[in-house]
Subunit: 155 residues, 2 copies
DNA sequence: CGATATTGTATGCCTCGCTCACAAATTTAT
DNA sequence: ATAAATTTGTGAGCGAGGCATACAATATCG
């Protein structure tokens, strides 16, 4: 369920080593792999879980809202919502005020899965925290935030 | 070519805000979008570019080597190599010592594109560096490295 | 009212990432 | 030297995510 294990020598590249975007991508990949390990029995992805949490804690949100928060296209969000609804984890409803909107809500099955998932999240969090002091951990989060937040600010 | 632009209020979640893995994912997404903007005319992805640089600076590497370095499955690497070879940017050859291996090399077209791409990389680097002091920048890289390197160390 | 923007949806295309299975070659063990 | 295990590339298949484009319905603003 993972990439091969490097024990032998592996090619490196001077011009690659200090490139931030590579480290970012590799780190994200590592987390993603760890995530699917930890959550394998729940069959859920990082994006899906985040989406569900967002729905649970913002009753009545719409797909567009989620897209804005998680910086995804409307069409992309729809795919995710379709998959979650297809599994009976969330439910679409009608907004009383705006007929274009669809309110999103967690089903009972979804809530059940979420309560398990939240525990697992702790596990993932610990796996990450192992590597850092508290200060480093918060620093890292803050620095990362600058990357995606400035992306927003640009408009 | 991008996600919608949040100007309005957007749902947030207390339990989501300090989750490191979300910031990591969003940051990576933001970089990816910026990347495809900057490199749009070259029609190349982050992964593809990294792969090509790796090949160029490690003459005769194999697909498996790349997989280990970039932490990707053999099968995944093959897909990437296929696409690059299909566009005539790289070339497969035969290893003189090991008949299982395929040596990878950059074609002339590939080298031409790489020289442009390296300039664009600077642009992406600057876009990132804007947000950070030098110390922060290096700190961030170092912290990220801990995430994917420990992943390796686990074996 | 009319023009403009927002929301959801459908379609289609592409990249990445994985599993499983297989064959050929190489290395290690007996 | 022969047998066993490992490495390498490949093929087929599956699914998620991410995008553009286009369309219809609804809201909002001038």
């Amino acid at each position: 369920m993972n990439a091969p294990l490097p024990l032998t020598e592996v090619p490196t590249s001077a011009s690659i080593d200090h490139v931030l975007d590579l480290h970012l991508r590799l780190a994200q990949g590592a987390v993603q792999r760890r995530f699917s390990d930890i959550f394998s029995d729940l069959g859920i992805t990082q994006t899906q879980l985040t989406t569900m949490i967002l729905i649970q804690e913002n009753a009545g949100t719409s797909q567009s809202d989620i897209g804005r928060t998680l910086q995804m296209d409307r069409a992309t969000v729809m795919g995710i919502i379709n998959r979650l609804e297809g599994r009976g984890l969330i439910q679409r409803g009608q907004s009383p005020t705006d007929k274009r909107r669809q309110t999103l809500a967690i089903t009972e099955a979804g809530a059940a899965m979420l309560s398990i998932a939240r525990e697992r999240s702790t596990e993932l969090g610990n796996w990450l925290k192992e590597r850092f002091s508290d200060a480093e951990f918060h620093m890292l989060a803050a620095l990362l935030k600058r990357i995606h937040e400035v992306d927003i600010k640009a408009f």
